[in-house]
Symmetry: C2
């Protein structure tokens, strides 16, 4: 059965994802680890990311500049994506309950909600002035 054997690479991949606030892409994780683990394969990173998603240990935040960005914080929170620097920033306190309640009452089975704001972050806003 898949995902039940120990693997030090899997552990390292998860640790890298879980210990950053950057909401990384697969290639970012790979780049972070390839010095420490020279024979790591990018396919292994992708395979384990897919596994973590199945296991509910990570979520997909959004696709930014053609790359999928992930998050090991699976708690209910929103994100802000900067159009200028492509950074992804955590936001808490979403208060979507009225809409969720309405959906539930309409018979929808909500597995996950994904709230993403797009714009220019305050750092880039200052730089651009």
């Amino acid at each position: 059965m898949k995902g039940h054997n120990f693997s030090s690479k899997r552990e390292a991949i998860f640790k890298t994802i879980a210990s950053t606030k950057t909401h990384p892409s697969a290639s970012w994780v790979y780049d972070q680890l390839k010095e420490e683990i020279p024979n790591l394969s990018l396919g292994t990173v992708y395979r384990n990311i897919a596994l973590f998603k199945e296991q509910g240990k990570i979520i997909t935040v959004a696709s930014v500049d053609g790359e999928e960005r992930i998050d090991a914080d699976v708690s209910d929170h929103a994100h802000f994506i900067c159009e200028h620097c492509s950074s992804v920033i955590d936001l808490y306190e979403t208060e979507l309950s009225p809409l969720e309640k309405q959906l539930f009452e309409s018979g929808f089975d909500i597995k996950r909600k994904n709230v993403v704001f797009h714009g220019i972050c305050c750092e880039c806003k200052e730089k651009l002035n």
Copy 2:
């Protein structure tokens, strides 16, 4: 200057996008039109979709099964994506104002917000039982 000449294909592409509630992908639009316009090129569909986005006439909703899905309804509304049938459904009345207000006060320049629920739609839910 780009996007300022008349083009019947551009018109047809926009009309196709604007007259559906399916939140189509580029290839869906292409498939819809290729009977009516046999010499249409998929590249033209992509090029015009990019133009419409720049012009703010359409938005990207989400990436579903590896394909970007678009919407000519640029008004403030949310979406529900069914994990089973991949349909994208409009939802209105989001009520995100408290969070938006907080972002504005923190110096973020919000261009767009994107609220997406993932789960099983009520039609699929019935079928699966």
